[in-house]
């Protein structure tokens, strides 16, 4: 014990929170690369903060959420936490975040498109560096000449491009691949049938004809064999990258990888639902930097400067051009290079038809309520109307239990 203890204590570097500015993030590798470049630029531009050890720590999305809760509970954690805006709801209710207006002047906040800001009870709990995270239709131009604009045309294309070339009864090429397990892929169609997940009072609105219509439409694709029988995200991604699917429904994080895989792709809004005349409405979300309520006062100035830098107009333009994401900064959106980029243009076209993801904590219960119903219908275990009824019951019950 006497031998081990000094060894353990000696090997643990003591972290001086007053001289350390840490960002916890859940960025993908390309975002991390960009972050490191922008951090290096920040260090050069702000020699007055040279004494601070500024660095980032990467977590997976779920780990980031649980780790931050645990750390902030003990009045610790990073200075800034970065991730999709939906994690801000629970964090702010738990009292773990500092409203941005307490750190930065109002002019810094007014730069942003107001709909992209995570505002709860009148306070801004984060500043976005990009907006999107939205699902879009991605077509493999080697298999389809023109991207369908409505579901009737689209279904015809899907039937034509689903092929069993070796005659073993299993399709070797699919019309469409997408994640059949996560309800995030159900949401656009819920909008396409005229529904939405909750009302303005954050009460679930899942047991509706719109939900039944959306579930019927998606399960119909599976029953016809136009999508693989069992398809999670990695499988859908792999099939599409291998060039064995005409379409995939996926977000901005994936497009570059498809191009790198040698595919010629076209981006387009998800096709309009012919029977309703409505466009599918994927959920859109900003990715934000939020401020830890318990940051060390000594690091306050450096944290504020870093936050302003990482969400600045220049950084957002750079991110938009390299990651194909849309800026949340109004001035950045007006830049000619952003306006003329075809990928961003297609992305913008889809975002305009999307709806912002509610950032209330009840959304967690909504996802968990929709998941079993969605999976049940796609497995053929539930009818669409039964699934919609169960989703509603579970969502109401889970929200109630969250408050106990």
């Amino acid at each position: 014990m006497a031998l081990v203890l000094p060894l353990v204590l000696g090997s643990c570097g003591r972290i001086d929170r007053s001289r350390s500015v840490v960002v916890w993030e859940q960025m993908d590798p390309k975002e991390q690369e960009q972050f490191d470049l922008h951090l290096a630029a920040f260090r050069l531009a702000h020699p007055e903060f040279a004494e601070f050890d500024i660095h980032r720590v990467h977590y997976r999305t779920e780990d980031l959420r649980t780790q931050y809760q645990t750390a902030a509970l003990a009045y610790g954690g990073p200075n800034l936490v970065y991730g999709p805006a939906d994690q801000i709801g629970p964090f702010s209710i738990m009292g773990l975040l500092l409203p941005v207006e307490e750190l930065l002047p109002r002019t810094e906040i007014d730069r942003f498109d107001p709909v992209t800001l995570p505002i709860l009870d009148g306070h801004v709990y984060g500043l976005p560096d990009q907006v999107g995270n939205h699902l879009t239709l991605v077509a493999n131009l080697a298999l389809v000449d023109e991207v369908a604009a409505d579901t009737d045309t689209w279904l015809e294309q899907l039937r034509e491009t689903t092929l069993d070339t070796d005659g073993d009864g299993r399709a070797d090429q699919y019309g469409l691949v997408f994640n059949l397990l996560e309800p995030f892929w159900l949401i656009p169609w819920l909008g396409g049938y005229g529904g939405w997940v909750m009302n303005d009072q954050a009460q679930p609105t899942l047991d509706t004809p719109a939900m039944v219509g959306a579930l019927d439409f998606l399960s119909g694709l599976k029953q016809e064999g136009l999508v693989p029988r069992e398809c999670d995200y990695p499988l859908a991604d792999t099939i599409f990258k291998e060039g064995r699917a005409a379409y995939i429904v996926n977000g901005p994080w994936s497009w570059e990888a498809y191009r790198e895989a040698g595919l010629e792709i076209a981006l387009a809004p998800l096709p309009m639902v012919t029977s309703t005349g409505l466009w599918p409405s994927p959920m859109t979300a900003a990715k934000c930097y939020s401020v830890n309520r318990y940051l060390d006062p000594e690091t306050r100035e450096c944290t504020a400067a870093l936050l302003a830098w990482l969400t600045s107009t220049e950084v957002q333009v750079e991110l938009a051009m390299t990651l194909s994401v849309l800026p949340a900064d109004r001035e950045a959106r007006l830049r000619p290079e952003i306006q003329s980029d075809p990928t961003l243009d297609a992305s913008r076209a889809q975002i305009e038809k999307g709806r912002l993801m509610p950032i209330v904590p009840e959304m967690r219960a909504m996802w968990d309520a929709m998941r079993p119903g969605y999976q049940g219908v796609m497995n053929g275990d539930l009818t669409s109307s039964e699934a919609a009824r169960r989703m509603q019951t579970k969502a109401v019950g889970d929200i109630e239990r969250m408050r106990e």
Partner: protein, 296 residues
């Protein structure tokens, strides 16, 4: 001060650091968990939880899913243990013989245990994919046996079976290693004497091997029970958080979800206390059974 008293005092000082560490890392978290279970600590009362008595414990038993998950946890533990012990002991008996290439077999059989559980679980999940997974491709080749491709994660019990198969594969090498060590310490004279007395292989196994292995197998059984009962990784990763539709949960995965997905800390703490009590009863049962066995 007498020598004996001085020695006692010295022993006390030697034990003190360990006692302090145990108090800090075992006793304090345990009692803090019991305290949390009696509060309304959740997302909305993150900084101001207050005592609400036994409400969470009552809620636990009233939830419709609880008894199903409870039963499934026992089934999960029992099936895994039966296979871990049967396969582990069987493999150990084979490897205890003089076989050509024994060390190669031993290394291969230990392999599932050596691979990180996380990687194994995710690999098995891929292998159970209904369309592209190796398991179904093999089943398709055996089509003449009437076995078609299965949608493993499409049904409650098939998903559960997939997790069980994975955990059997992961768990039996542990018992094999333990049993092999025990087998090598059994004096060969006992077997020779039994042979002279005319005892056959079955008699020798039940009268010599099994009783002599009991001191090593009993702790392995207790550990195996606790580990399997509390095995979060395999169910969580293989069934992708409870596929299909949250139906393949066991108690620990259910608690994990309540705590870290719904922020129901008080409720999850109550659940954890319940799991602890169940395991305590099981271990007590094993100990009693072991002591009763020693009486013979």
């Amino acid at each position: 001060m007498s020598l004996q008293r001085r020695e006692t005092k010295l022993a006390f000082w030697f034990l003190l650091p360990v006692a302090v560490v145990l108090l800090g890392v075992v006793a304090y978290p345990f009692f803090f968990n019991v305290y949390i279970s009696l509060t309304n600590w959740n997302m909305f009362h993150f900084r101001d939880p207050h005592l609400i008595g036994l409400r969470h414990y009552l809620r636990l038993f009233a939830e419709s899913d609880f008894w199903m998950i409870f039963g499934k946890t026992f089934l999960w533990t029992a099936v895994n243990l039966v296979f871990h012990f049967t396969l582990g002991l069987g493999a150990a008996l084979l490897l205890n013989r003089k076989l050509p290439g024994r060390s190669i077999y031993r290394a291969l059989l230990i392999l599932p245990w050596a691979v990180p559980q996380y990687i194994s679980a995710l690999t098995w999940r891929g292998m159970f994919n209904s369309e592209y997974g190796a398991v179904n491709l093999i089943l398709a080749k055996l089509g003449w046996l009437g076995l078609g491709p299965l949608s493993w994660f499409g049904g409650e019990w098939s998903a559960f079976s997939a997790a069980v198969i994975t955990n059997i594969w992961l768990g039996f090498p542990f018992i094999m290693v333990i049993a092999l060590g025990g087998l090598q310490s059994i004096p060969q004279e006992l077997y020779e004497a039994a042979r002279i007395d005319g005892a056959g292989p079955v008699r020798r196994f039940f009268s010599i091997t099994l009783p002599m292995l009991k001191p090593v197998l009993m702790p392995a059984l207790i550990l195996g029970t606790i580990w399997t009962f509390n095995n979060l990784n395999v169910i969580w990763l293989v069934t992708d958080q409870g596929l299909p539709a949250d139906k393949s949960h066991i108690l620990v995965t259910y608690v994990y979800k309540a705590a870290f997905f719904y922020y129901r800390y008080g409720y999850a703490a109550a659940f954890s206390v319940f799991i602890f009590l169940v395991l305590l009863l099981i271990v007590q049962g094993y100990n009693k059974a072991a002591k009763a066995g020693e009486a013979y």
